[in-house]
């Protein structure tokens, strides 16, 4: 259940990585270097033997700090395709930050992260890391859907407009086809009758379901949920969890940061308890919830259950 059996990364490696990133940042025209590595780069993650496609997400000693505040102090995790991983833990434990690192909304300060076999945000050539350009990071994010605590729907677009926005604007797909798919997605989340409603006219639960449909419209390989029900009235939590459960049954790979222990037990394939920027305990949800080993886990679960 503890994470000690995972391969630890040599400290020197991490520091190299940080240096390389620093170098790329300080060179205003780091483009040259990045372009030079274009040819050799794409296969590196897999050739290193670390990002084998058997894992949808693989985190290795991930560190993140905001200024002096260390938020993530070495996270090692793997998520297999089709797996639903739930992440629980007290506020400030770094769960959300870790989630945001996965689609590079936050830059890592150390360690490595692969999604679907590709290193996130950087290109590796030999021992050096090269920062990706904004455009390339954006391309990586297309395969990762994200659902936020505060929904973050675009308030000036209808529900349908929200779902259609990314496929039309990012993938450049024809509107008619996107519309068809968007309608189907809204039906799937049970909102066929709310297509023309603006987010302000929808309840929180409905908004969050639109947000899930919006993320699914890009046909992601991985879905990230950042406390998707924390901002909802208690009576609306169920409808969102139901949609997520359906999604899990359809085989979507999901990482869910949540306080819904019941959902974690019922739907999750694995459960991770984080505290103080590290993974304290992980395992099958039933085991962790019913028989927590670490005192911190026991303490946390006794308070929320």
């Amino acid at each position: 259940m503890a994470t000690d059996d995972r391969p630890s990364v040599a400290k020197a490696d991490t520091e190299d990585a940080v240096d390389a990133v620093d170098a790329a940042e300080t060179t205003a025209s780091g483009e040259d270097a990045v372009q030079a590595s274009d040819t050799a780069a794409s296969g590196d993650a897999t050739t290193a033997g670390t990002g084998a496609p058997e894992f949808m997400v693989r985190a290795e000693n991930v560190h993140k700090n905001f200024g002096r505040l260390e938020v993530l102090k070495g996270i090692d995790l793997t998520v297999r395709p089709g797996e639903v991983m739930c992440v629980i833990g007290p506020s400030g434990s770094g769960k959300s930050t870790f989630l945001r690192c996965i689609n590079h909304l936050e830059k890592l300060n150390g360690g490595r992260l692969w999604v679907n076999g590709h290193l996130v945000g950087y290109r590796q050539k030999g021992d050096r890391l090269y920062e990706m350009r904004e455009r390339e990071v954006a391309a990586q994010r297309r395969d990762i859907g994200m659902v936020f605590q505060r929904f973050n729907l675009f308030p000036h677009m209808t529900a349908l407009g929200n779902v259609m926005e990314a496929p039309v604007q990012v993938k450049g797909l024809p509107k008619a086809r996107v519309r068809e798919r968007a309608v189907a997605l809204l039906e799937r989340v049970g909102l066929a009758d709310k297509m023309d409603a603006y987010p302000g006219q929808l309840s929180g639960g409905q908004q969050q379901r639109v947000a899930i449909a919006r993320a699914l419209a890009m046909e992601p390989a991985l879905m990230l949920f950042d406390e998707p029900t924390s901002a909802l009235d208690p009576e609306l939590v169920g409808e969102v969890l139901e949609v997520m459960k359906q999604l899990a049954l359809d085989g979507m790979t999901m990482i869910v940061v949540t306080h819904e222990i019941g959902f974690a037990r019922e739907v999750g394939d694995s459960l991770v308890f984080m505290d103080g920027g590290v993974v304290v305990e992980q395992g099958r949800p039933r085991d962790v919830i019913e028989n927590p080993q670490h005192p911190r886990t026991q303490d946390f679960l006794s308070k929320v259950l």
């Binding site: 455009r135 954006a138 973050n152 990314a166 603006y198």
Partner: protein, 307 residues
């Protein structure tokens, strides 16, 4: 435990018909204000020194109408330059590239820090500073030459002075608008794989508009009147047109009143336009009403309270 179904149905109670509170103070105030207003209108209308005949005679005069056209042209062009320049400057100002944001800061510092009247005059006399303009590569060959005298007419100088100054003010308004948009919006768009430019154009700016439009309407109304400064470079706008007339006829006050009434008419029309623009960009957040509906609704609320 009782359930509502078990209770005997009582039906909807009759609408409460109570005698509303009488606001005697308001009635007295209304009478007093109406009395003072009538007196003011009466004394102005019957004061010969206002020169109502002169106002009437010149109100629709061709030279005045030409001046109005010029004022409107200047306002539209200056505001277009101001809005376009303001958006560019605001986006530059928020750029992560310190050089680009520095340039935008410098622009605002110069153009907001000097009087617009001075800027208009300087543009008019720019031919004294730079007699010829050339299109070409700096320090390299040139392709086209312009004589500043031909290029910078009074009209061009007026547009440049007003428009470039306005861009500095608009950039601050646009910047405030952009910063008012919830960062979660760009975050959600980023997570969907949208590029920075697309996020700005499709997600942030449309929402920033709600914050940008009201002060921009304000700026437009202000510009309509600020454009009268071009009279110093002898550009025949509304103010300059009436000045020409009263320099000849010495009917200074009536002619200035002609200009003032026209300015009032134009700002009133702009106010109506602003209402509809605000409603358009507030879609999804505010309920939709026409101006008349809102006016009637307000009257009802007032009426309900005081009747």
């Amino acid at each position: 435990m009782t359930l509502t179904e078990e209770k005997t149905p009582r039906g909807r109670p009759a609408e409460i018909k109570a005698v509303p509170v009488r606001h005697y103070g308001r009635w007295i105030a209304a009478v007093l204000i109406a009395y003072v207003a009538l007196w003011a209108i009466h004394s102005v209308a019957n004061n010969e020194r206002f020169g109502w005949d002169t106002i009437n005679a010149w109100f629709w005069d061709g030279s005045i109408l030409d001046g109005i056209v010029m004022t409107l042209e200047l306002t539209v062009i200056a505001m277009l330059m101001g809005v376009a320049g303001g958006v560019v400057l605001a986006v530059m100002r928020l750029s992560p590239n310190p050089l680009i944001s520095g340039v935008a800061w410098l622009y605002v510092w110069v153009f907001r820090g000097t009087p617009v009247l001075v800027q208009i005059i300087l543009w008019f006399y720019v031919k004294a500073l730079i007699p010829t303009f050339s299109l070409g590569i700096p320090f390299g060959p040139t392709f086209v030459h312009f004589n500043a005298n031909d290029l910078i007419t009074a009209f061009v100088a007026g547009c440049l002075g007003l428009g470039l100054n306005e861009a500095a003010y608009m950039s601050e308004i646009v910047r405030a608008g952009i910063l008012s948009v919830d960062p979660g919006q760009s975050e959600a768009a980023t997570a969907l794989g949208m590029s920075r430019a697309k996020i700005m154009r499709r997600v942030v700016l449309p929402q920033a508009m709600r914050v940008i439009i009201p002060p921009t309407g304000n700026e437009t109304i202000s510009m309509l009147k600020t454009s009268s400064l071009v009279s110093v470079i002898a550009l025949a706008d509304l103010l300059y047109s009436v000045q020409i007339v009263y320099n000849r006829t010495y009917q200074t006050i009536p002619m200035l009143l002609v200009a003032s009434i026209w300015y009032l008419v134009m700002t009133s029309i702009l106010t109506v336009g602003q209402f509809y623009l605000e409603r358009y960009f507030g879609r999804g957040t505010a309920q939709r009403q026409t101006m008349l509906e809102r006016f009637v609704a307000n009257l009802r609320i007032r009426g309900g309270r005081s009747a």
